[in-house]
């Protein structure tokens, strides 16, 4: 029964790659080597921030690192955004608990990336400047479209930030043996420092450093596990089947994806949600041109795919080497610290105390890197979309806009600290799911149709996008994760955990209907402006940043 409850929690939140870490958390003894290694990481990243701060002078530097990130670097940074603590610990925990089902989730996270490459990435680079609202509002009315896009961005960022903050608080207890509130305050302060002083350049390099450390650590673990079996997969999997309570069932799909509507809906949330996350979309503006934007996704897909194969091996490795070793088990034969600790215990099993410290430090550093990207995206929506383009109608000097974005970063950091502490004991399993649902239902349809559909008008985008946003929020509230798990009702009004199939459909139909019936003169002008936009999106002629090198 305990396992079922745990699984339900895990799937609620960790179904989303960069999501919250859920499940039982017990504070562990103080882990000095992990704390020291983490401090080394912090010192290094503050060094990066100092270096980046001296190179961050203009708004373009602040928002997009001057557009000078290469495709390879950006690929690592995107992969870093995706390889969060929850996907590392959560997916390996899922594999540890049910074997093959973990792989099904990993695949769901990955397949959105090729689609983003084929349909979105270069157009985004050719049209955008600092935020995805630049693209959505390219030929539509600035004020309503940017307000909608900024609302979608800020909502996504805040929900995500809360989940990450609570995750940080739980992880610090598990990994370092330090109190919850320390983590929340520490993460909040460090992310404010990275973002306000180092802007996108620091945020990107912190993410790259973390991605390299995490990939290196995970590679070592996977190789050590395989080496234990003389690199015989048959011997490795046979041993896992032999020692796992579920036996051969861990080698086949289990009960995870039993109903097709949930499966399809989750797929849509993952795919379109990823393509609507402001902190991910923003990364496409940090590269020089469409060519580098494409390369970013190629490398990112490679790194993420490789990482998921590693977590699969790590999860099975934990079955073989951790679940059989009494050192890692409590009196009830469960993992000390909960299943999310599977990968962490495995690091000790294959590399001793030193490597345990390393993996713990990297897992915590991961949260820091992800929240920095989120905060920068949220601050950009406030300063670039709301302040500069809505409030000041585009008439604003650059220094003033940067000042506002730094103030917004500070404000978001403080809000995140307070919310992180306020939500410590709350059930936040729904938050990342809701963030993905909003990204998929409000941000993505407007962005996608603004680039692909000539007849999109401001009215259609605003009404349809708002309907998508409202539907996503309402269905999550009426669904099992909030109506039952948070509000304590017996049965959900809306049966499905993932509303994306419905809310995305509502958004697309709403946008279509209210655009098609919009016969105003403004609408006509917006339709006529599509040609010029399309030529630029296809060729990059007139694109931002093309001349900066």
């Amino acid at each position: 029964m305990k396992r079922i409850v745990w699984l339900a929690l895990l799937l609620g939140a960790n179904a989303f790659a960069a999501g919250a870490l859920e499940g039982d958390v017990q504070k562990q003894p103080l882990n000095i080597s992990a704390i020291i290694m983490f401090l080394v990481f912090v010192a290094g990243t503050l060094g990066i921030t100092y270096w980046a701060a001296r190179r961050t002078k203009t708004a373009k530097d602040f928002y997009t690192a001057g557009g000078g990130i290469t495709g390879f670097q950006n690929g690592l940074a995107i992969a870093g955004d995706y390889m969060s603590a929850a996907s590392f610990l959560g997916i390996s925990a899922l594999v540890y608990a049910s074997g093959y089902d973990g792989l099904i989730y990993s695949i769901g996270f990955l397949v959105g990336w090729p689609i983003i490459l084929f349909l979105v990435s270069e157009r985004l680079r050719n049209l955008g400047k600092y935020t995805f609202a630049d693209v959505a509002a390219y030929r539509l009315k600035q004020t309503p479209i940017r307000s909608l896009a900024a609302t979608g961005s800020i909502a996504t960022v805040i929900l995500y930030l809360i989940a990450q903050m609570v995750g940080a608080g739980q992880l610090i207890q598990l990994l370092f043996g330090l109190p919850y509130s320390w983590a929340v305050v520490l993460v909040g302060i460090l992310m404010i420092l990275y973002v306000t002083f180092g802007g996108m350049l620091a945020t990107t390099w912190v993410q790259i450093v973390k991605a390299v450390l995490l990939l290196a650590g995970a590679t070592f673990m996977a190789l050590a596990v395989l080496a234990h079996f003389g690199f015989s997969l048959e011997a490795f999997f046979s041993k896992a089947v032999e020692v796992h309570a579920k036996g051969e069932a861990i080698m086949s799909p289990g009960a995870l994806v039993s109903d097709p509507i949930s499966a399809v809906s989750l797929g849509i949330a993952l795919m379109f949600g990823t393509a609507g996350l402001p902190h991910i979309l923003m990364r496409f503006f940090t590269v020089a041109d469409a060519k580098e934007a494409r390369k970013s996704v190629f490398y990112a897909t490679g790194f993420i795919g490789y990482f998921y194969i590693l977590t699969f091996v790590i999860g099975f490795g934990a079955i073989v080497l951790v679940s059989t070793n009494p050192t890692y088990l409590d009196a009830a034969k469960a993992l000390i610290g909960g299943n999310n600790m599977a990968a962490v215990h495995l690091s000790h099993a294959v590399g001793g105390n030193f490597f345990l410290g390393f993996i713990s430090a990297v897992a915590f550093a991961t949260i820091l890197a992800v929240v920095s990207g989120l905060t920068l995206a949220g601050a950009s929506a406030i300063s670039h979309d709301l302040y500069a383009n809505v409030f000041k109608r585009g008439k604003v000097d650059e220094n003033q806009e940067m000042k506002i974005s730094k103030m917004a970063t500070l404000a978001l950091g403080i809000v995140a600290i307070f919310l992180g502490i306020a939500f410590e004991k709350q059930n936040i399993a729904f938050m990342v799911g809701l963030a993905f649902a909003i990204a998929a239902s409000a941000n993505f349809p407007v962005l996608f149709l603004s680039m692909f559909w000539k007849k999109l008008t401001t009215r259609g985008a605003v009404i349809g996008g708002s309907l998508g946003l409202a539907t996503a929020i309402i269905l999550v509230i009426l669904g099992p994760t909030v109506w039952v798990d948070v509000l304590g009702n017996a049965a959900p009004i809306f049966p499905n955990k993932y509303p994306a199939l419905f809310s995305v459909t509502v958004a697309f139909i709403g946008i279509w209907f209210f655009s098609a019936t919009d016969k105003s003169a403004d609408a006509q002008a917006e339709i006529e402006a599509f040609e010029a936009q399309d030529v630029r999106s296809q060729t990059g002629i007139g694109a931002e940043g093309a001349s900066a090198h």
């Binding site: 695949i107 084929f118 799909p253 060519k291 194969i309 030529v535």
Partner: protein, 101 residues
């Protein structure tokens, strides 16, 4: 960009070639990815035993190489697109840009 410039580019046969080639490649690859992924998900939803079948005498099931293969397919498809786009499409784009100068 002026209206004349937009018309000029749109009427350029090279632009039309670029747009139609890129669209057909992008949508073809997208559809391949979607078909592969949703076929996998639907098999799991309706007939999971298909993936639970053994490969030979050991414990390794068909599902494991299939799952890993989907990860490789995703990566390979991005590779195909990037290779095509960074050579052929970028060449065409460059020619279009040169012509308007």
């Amino acid at each position: 960009m002026t209206h004349e410039m937009v018309e000029q580019i749109k009427n350029n046969p090279k632009y039309q070639e670029l747009v139609s080639k890129r669209n057909s490649l992008a949508w073809t690859l997208s559809i391949i990815m979607l078909v592969v992924y949703y076929a996998f998900i639907l098999v799991i939803a309706f007939d999971p035993s298909l993936l639970g079948g053994k490969m030979g005498s050991g414990v390794i099931t068909v599902g494991i190489p299939v799952g890993i293969a989907i990860i490789f397919i995703a990566f390979a498809l991005t590779g195909v697109y990037v290779k095509k786009a960074n050579s052929e499409f970028d060449d065409l784009t460059k020619q279009i840009k040169d012509e308007i100068k």
